[in-house]
Each structure stands twice: as C-alpha cells, then as structure tokens.
Amino acid sequence: MSLHLNSDQINELLQPGASEGPRAAGNQGLLEDARRHLEGCTTCQERIRKQEQVIESLALLKTTGPGAKGLACPPDDVWLEIAAGIVHQDSEDRVNHAAECDHCGPLLRQAKEDFADELTPGEDGRIATLSISTADGQERLAIKLQNNPAPSPIVTSPKGRPPISLSSFLAPWRLAFAAALIALILLGIRDYRRVAHLSAGNLQTAAEVRRLEQTVLQQNRQIAELTSKPRVSKIPSTVPPPQPAGSPQIASLVLDSGVTRGIGALKRLTVPKGADVARITLRSGEALEGIVREELITAEGQKKWSQELSPSETEKRTGSLSLLVPAYLLTPNDYQIVLSRQSSGGFEHFATYTFRITR
C-alpha cells in the first residue's frame, strides 16, 4: 500500500453519499482502508480539505437571476425557442453564448424549467383544479373554439370577484369615462366629415401612386435581367403594366429559413414611403443548385409574385439568394417566401421564410 491516498481514493471519498448505494457496497473495504488512513494522516486531510474548498467555490459560480443584458446578447425570446427545441442555424452559437453569459444563461435555465415535461405533484394538483381541466370544461371550450375563431372567455366561477352593484355602476369614474366616450364619438363624426372632403384629393394622389408603381415594376424587371439572366418573374395579371422612370429606392431585409418561430420573433421589414424595390436576402442552409422557384405568398395564401432562376455563382457560394420584389406588392401583412428546386418530378419545396411588412 502506498504512503498516501491516491487520487481515485480521494475522489471516492469526496463523492456525495460515498458510504451508501450499490457502488459503495463493492468498494466498502477500500473505502474503510482509505478512511482509516485519513484519520491519522494530516497530509491527506489537507488534500481532501483543499478539494472540498474547490467544490464549494464551484457552487459560487451559479447566478441567482439574470444579470445585466450585454451588447452581444440576443433578444430574450430566443431562449424560449431554444428551450422548446425550435432550432435555427445559429442556435448552437446562441447556446455557446448562454453558457458564459450571466444574462442569457439564467434565461435559458428558466425557459428549460418552464418547459420541462415532468410535473411535480403540486403542479398536478393545481392543474386538476382548473375549470378547463374537467371533461365538461374542455368540451365547452372546444365548442366555442370551433364556432368562433375568436371566442369570448368562458364564464368561470365568480369566486374572488366582487359583484357589480348599482352604486359602483354609477361611480364617478364610470360616468367620467362615459362622458369622455361620447365626446370622442362626436369628435370622430366631425373628423369623418373632414376626411370626406379630403378623399377627392386622395383619388388624384392614388392615380399618381399607381403610375409610380408601374415604373417600379419596369425597373424591377430591368434589375432582374441585369443580375440574373435566366430569371423569369411572374406577377398575377391584376398588376398593371410597367412604365419607365428614374433610379429606384431599395428597402432591404435578411431572412433565415423556418416558420416555427415564436410570435415575437417574426422578422419585420418596414417599407419606407418612396421605396421602389425591396431587396430580400434569403439565407439557406441548403445547396443552391439548378433552377430555384421563389414564391411570395400572403398570410391568406394568395400568391403575390413568383420567379424561377438559376442562382449566380456568388449565391451558390454564400448559400444566400437575393430577391428584388416591387415594393408596391408588399402591402402591410404577413408573408411567406417559399423556395422550391427543380427535380425530376417537378418542383420540390426546400425552404420557407416568414416575415411581416409594415409601413
């Protein structure tokens, strides 16, 4: 036997519950020897004590709550998506950041805890007491959801809510609110009359806007021709024919593929007044080979625009496609751009991009 404990023996002694469990039972004799040695050896006692101090210091590393947000920190809702298993191209980098960030690390921990599948007995009990947990409650909710896309809340037990009495109905703040509401309605009627006068002027402006839109369309075609020869754009026949004009103004947006992002994470493109063309860069994880079809679809499923193209060498190398879409087509709404590639059986979908247009 050596003069002092070796690192394996020290490790065994430092394990929580070292004298319990099946593992300990097998090592019982060795652990007993190590303990006997430890009792009489100050050198090994000191070694154990120092290692225990390190264990204690590791406990100090844990943050109690989210610290200050840094410049490199992504938006907080990113951690919800990562914790929920919604993965994007940059998710791994984000986790790497969270590991060493006192703001993002705790947010990720909280999100993981909130999304954990296992329920504690306490949570189980709480959920069982909810009004919607009963079969009857679920059925009533289902009927409301099916009947009305925006159902009114189900009336639950009035427990804890004070009854509304006549005196409270006639409370001064309620009367003041009603008076303010009436005043607002009257002001609204006056404004409506003014707006009616202005609408004639608007018609003239609208005609001007239409002329400009046609100009933009022509420019878009010219740009598409210059940037990629084999591109073929299709715009539904309702769109008016183009006319030539001066140099275009361009609004830009970069998108990553995927549509399962949270509500808050929807990318937005604000198309400023006077913008002629929107340049949308689509970052794809896929190899961009062959003919690619790009389709712009509204939230209502209406196809607004499409084109087929052979990606340029630069686009193939960077894995990004650059689209030039006439700005007037992008009215405020939610949109999807769907990418498909040509295969033997037609076009095969391979990426979807979701974004919101605001003005």
């Binding site: 100090l60 909130d114 919607i132 679920q138 159902p151 809340p153 979701t354």
Partner: protein, 227 residues
C-alpha cells in the same frame, strides 16, 4: 363524426384550422390542455401570480391567440420534425403569459399614481449587483477556473465539454436540460459523465497548485488529463 384520438398532430392542427370540426377541437384541447396549463402555471409563477383565476384566464387567452386571424398561427405552422408542434405551443403559450404581465405592468405604471422617494434615500445594492465584493470575487473565480479548464479539457470535443461545464455550474442547467440543447449530442447520462470527469480534473488541479497550468501536458485519448 370521426375518431380523432389516433390522428397525427400535424393532421389534427390542419383539421382544427380548416374544418372547424368540434370533435377535432375537443381532441386538440384534450391533447394540449395539460401542456398549456403547465407552461402557464410555471411562467405566471415567475411573474408572481399563478392564482387559479389567472391561470384559467391565460389558458383561454392562449386559445384565443391560436384562433386569432382565422387560425393564422395554426395555418402557418409547418411540421419540421416530430414534436415540433409541442415546442411551438410552448413558445406561443409562454409569450401569451409574458405579454399579459407586461401589459398589466405597463397599466400599473401608467395608472397616474406617483411614487415619491425620500430625499435622503440611498438605494441598497444587492449582494450580487455589478461591482459588489461578491460579484468581483466571482469574476476572479470565473477567470481562474477558465484558465484551468483550458488545460483540463482538451481534444476534439473541448468546446462542447467546456460549454457543458459552464451551462451546469454557471447557468445552473440540469444534465438533462443540457442534453436536449442543440450541439450537445449526448444523453443526460453522457452529460453527467462529462461533468463528473471535468469536475474531478479541475478539483485536483485547483487543489494542488503544483500541477499548475503550464508545463508538458499528457492528454488521454478521451481528451482529459490522466488522473
């Protein structure tokens, strides 16, 4: 009237948003009620109000959100992998709770009530606040440990193993939670094993300064120094 209990999640989502079938919605509520309620219960608890009334209201708000704009969220959902909808519902639900409490917080702040501080008030910084002795001590400790980790963790998976170490000790994630994260590629047991091995290496190095962070290092094929 069909039996929807055997229908896939993707199909059920489609049926709910397209056919408006009451049976489909009953199955949807039956399948996802527990999940939605759990997320609401926990997230609302963080905001300090997980009363039964609040949780009930938030559950209904979540369904309203799913049904808004003619089921826009359901119609736009694209199943990219099995279980994706569960993740999607979790995120939607958590966002509903956060928006609810943000809005109620804003209402409280804008209610016209003024809070007045006393002239001689000196706000007390928390023990963990930036610049406090404890936070300085912790920053030094992190730097010290990072230096030792550079030596302790080596090999092809050193970045991943270092990430696991910090996620466990610094962010406070459990081994199981770490295993689920993108780029980890290990089971919970695998993560536990990495944590134990790195911790042991680190403990021995820090407790015995003679091992230091310099000098020749003999790395084992697994990427850890021999004990």
């Amino acid at each position: 009237m069909g039996n929807y209990s055997s229908v896939s999640t993707e199909e059920l989502v489609h049926l709910c948003s397209a056919s408006h079938s009451p049976e489909a919605w009953t199955e949807f509520v039956h399948r996802f009620h527990r999940l939605i309620a759990t997320v609401i219960l926990r997230t609302a608890g963080r905001f300090g109000d997980s009363s039964t009334q609040t949780v009930d209201d938030l559950i209904q708000e979540t369904y309203l959100k799913l049904c808004a704009d003619d089921f826009r969220l359901l119609r736009h959902f694209e199943q990219q992998h099995p279980g994706a909808f569960v993740g999607y519902i979790k995120v939607v639900t958590a966002n509903v709770v956060r928006d609810h409490f943000k809005a109620s917080h804003t209402q409280k702040r804008g209610s016209g009530r003024l809070e007045r501080f006393e002239d001689d008030l000196v706000p007390v910084a928390s023990e963990d606040s930036f610049g406090s002795p404890r936070s300085i001590e912790r920053a030094v400790l992190i730097k010290q440990i990072a230096g030792h980790l550079e030596v302790c963790v080596a090999g092809p998976d050193q970045d991943r193993n270092r990430r696991i170490f910090w996620l466990y000790y610094r962010a406070g994630l459990s081994a199981r939670a770490i295993a689920d994260l993108p780029g980890i590629g290990l089971s919970a047991k695998g993560v536990e094993s990495i944590i134990m091995r790195v911790t042991r290496e680190l403990r021995e190095r820090m407790a015995e300064p003679s091992m230091g962070t310099e000098g020749p290092i003999h790395r084992s094929p697994e990427g850890f120094l021999p004990a």
